[in-house]
């Protein structure tokens, strides 16, 4: 699509902002107005919802598995291989594949998008735990901490920056890709982006702007969360 970029007039950013806040006429709707603030907020909330579902599912699947494998020091091939394979799955093909089983809708999308979130979370959780200095781990075992205690109270706190980096990557990938949701039964901001013939260039750019803002906002929230999760003693130490 790079060949199209020279034709995207940057001047339409103004038009896009207008599109976000007030309804605009369209060529193909028979007089109905499109876009506007209410519509944009609704689409954004749908996108947020499906993003959170997918993120929750990928955390549920990938985080325990990654932590466990990292703690035991086994399955590196699985954690990294699965992670890399997962990145190569084409999302639309996956949606069509799942549609043949359970149809389209929020469940389909949650699964399809979670497949995007699993690889970075799994790989980073595994690597994060593996990279923890062995000395404090041995010391913890030495004072009689249980294996679960070692994992949760020593390894995880020390690995937080790497683990959270995976979660942040997953979140950005999911929220950005949730723009294709209108192809699978859920109206997200992708509706503006996919249907240029309905919403015009202003709509496309408007959709892109709001998605970008959402991604930035989520990234910021997660950065704050990461700071909260990092134990006080480590905050000043470079990770």
């Amino acid at each position: 699509m790079t060949f199209l970029l020279p034709h995207l007039p940057l001047g339409s950013i103004e038009g896009a902002i207008e599109f976000i806040f007030s309804e605009q006429p369209s060529n193909v709707t028979g007089g109905n107005l499109v876009g506007g603030f209410d519509q944009t907020v609704e689409l954004a909330l749908n996108q947020l919802e499906v993003t959170l579902f997918a993120l929750a599912l990928s955390l549920l699947v990938a985080l325990p598995l990654g932590l466990y494998l990292g703690h035991r020091g086994v399955g590196g091939f699985l954690a990294i291989g699965l992670g890399n394979a997962g990145r190569a799955i084409p999302e639309l093909a996956l949606i069509a594949f799942i549609a043949a089983w359970i149809g389209v809708g929020t469940l389909n999308l949650t699964i399809a998008l979670a497949v995007l979130g699993v690889p970075p979370i799994l790989t980073n959780a595994f690597i994060g735990i593996r990279q923890v200095d062995r000395a404090p781990v041995e010391a913890a075992r030495g004072i009689g901490m249980s294996e679960l205690g070692v994992l949760l109270r020593v390894e995880v706190p020390l690995a937080i920056p790497t683990i959270m980096a995976g979660v942040r990557l997953a979140t950005i990938a999911i929220v950005a890709t949730a723009t294709i949701a209108p192809l699978a039964g859920v109206l997200t901001l992708g509706d503006y982006i996919i249907n240029e013939n309905v919403y015009g260039e202003d709509g496309v750019v408007a959709g892109a702007i709001v998605v970008a803002l959402m991604a930035l906002a989520l990234e910021l929230l997660l950065a704050l969360l990461q700071r909260r999760l990092t134990s006080k003693g480590l905050r000043t130490v470079p990770a």
């Binding site: 028979g30 598995l65 069509a96 549609a99 389209v104 039964g185 509706d191």
Partner: protein, 330 residues
């Protein structure tokens, strides 16, 4: 353990999809062909004669990104190659707005567009203002294109339109023959269609405004899933195309409801090009295109669509077969 087995399965399955996509993608990659033509035709049409003068003209044939358009793009490109032009294809242009923009920017030489889409989407006509007569719609679109420095060649025999489709079972149960029959029942029925359908006057917006129908819900889906959602029982009604091969091949399973208020205008294909390219390319350009589309009746188009959508052949292959079977190429 359950999760990882399922995931392994899902990944294996997804890999299979990737591989099959890769294989079919190979068949539709861009290429240049300039075959020598055989004077002997196998089917009804006259063989295309290669004119060496055309060799210096470079043409890039575009199309929108769904099977019928890709087949048409390939047919035109391969026919023009047979006429001696050096041709390339660019068959993934998305919606009509993108295709038109690409054409105006000179990145493609021409692409096939439905006359009805051109009139409603480009030239602001209401669906009910689109002439039902193919020749009339062509004249009107041609005049509008001329104002923008574009040339539209004469229409194909077949026309395509959106249609409200359902399972035959559902139609029989609810006594549905026409779209008007949905009155009083549509509130309990779910409608699925492409994302753009929701706002378009020649789609959901028209059903609501011109038929006065309200549906239980409208769910946007990828065009490729329009039959899947009916088969899965998710959709009571789904927006289909009148040229869909499924309608001919499985007429005991799927039916379309008659558009008794003509909200979905039918469109014949017009090959649209720029005046500049039309002048440079000479008379063989239009004559070749008009010649090879003569065989494109509704039945033939449905059959070609079936080979791509149901039998998973590549558009390139199917176009080649069509040209050969009709006797246009050797």
């Amino acid at each position: 353990m359950r999760t990882s087995t399922t995931r392994l399965f899902a990944i294996a399955a997804a890999l299979a999809i990737v591989l099959s996509l890769g294989v079919s993608a190979c068949g539709s990659s861009d290429d240049s062909t300039s075959d020598e033509t055989d004077a002997e035709g196998g089917g009804g049409g006259d063989a295309i004669v290669s004119n060496p003068d055309n060799g210096k003209v470079k043409l890039t044939i575009g199309s929108k990104n769904f099977p019928e358009q890709e087949i048409l793009g390939e047919i035109y490109a391969q026919a023009l190659a047979a006429a001696g032009y050096s041709t390339k294809t660019d068959l993934n242009l998305g919606s009509e707005t993108v295709a038109l923009k690409t054409l105006k920017a000179g990145q493609i030489s021409g692409y096939p567009e439905y006359a009805s889409t051109a009139l409603t989407s480009f030239f602001g006509k209401e669906p009910e203002e689109v002439p039902a007569d193919a020749q009339e719609a062509y004249e009107e679109a041609k005049a509008e294109f001329e104002k923008e420095g574009l040339t539209a060649f004469p229409p194909t025999p077949f026309a395509s339109a959106n249609a409200v489709g359902t399972l035959k079972k559902t139609a029989d149960e609810l006594g549905l023959k026409t779209i008007s029959d949905l009155e009083g029942q549509s509130e309990d029925l779910t409608l699925y269609g492409s994302p753009e359908c929701r706002q378009r006057i020649d789609c959901l917006a028209g059903l609501e405004k011109l038929y006065g129908l309200k549906f239980k819900s409208f769910t946007p889906v990828d065009i490729g899933l329009r039959y899947t959602v009916l088969e899965k029982g998710q959709a009571d009604l789904s927006i289909l195309f009148t040229t869909d091969p499924q309608l001919a091949a499985e007429s005991d399973k799927f039916v379309i409801l008659e558009d008794d208020k003509e909200v979905f205008p039918a469109g014949n294909i017009l090959f649209v090009t720029t005046d500049k390219v039309a002048n440079e390319a000479g008379p063989d350009y239009e004559s070749t295109i008009v010649q090879v589309q003569e065989g494109l009746t509704l039945e033939v188009m449905q059959e070609l669509d079936a080979r791509v959508e149901l039998e998973k052949q590549s558009a390139k292959e199917v176009a080649g077969e069509y040209l050969e079977e009709s006797g246009y190429t050797g």
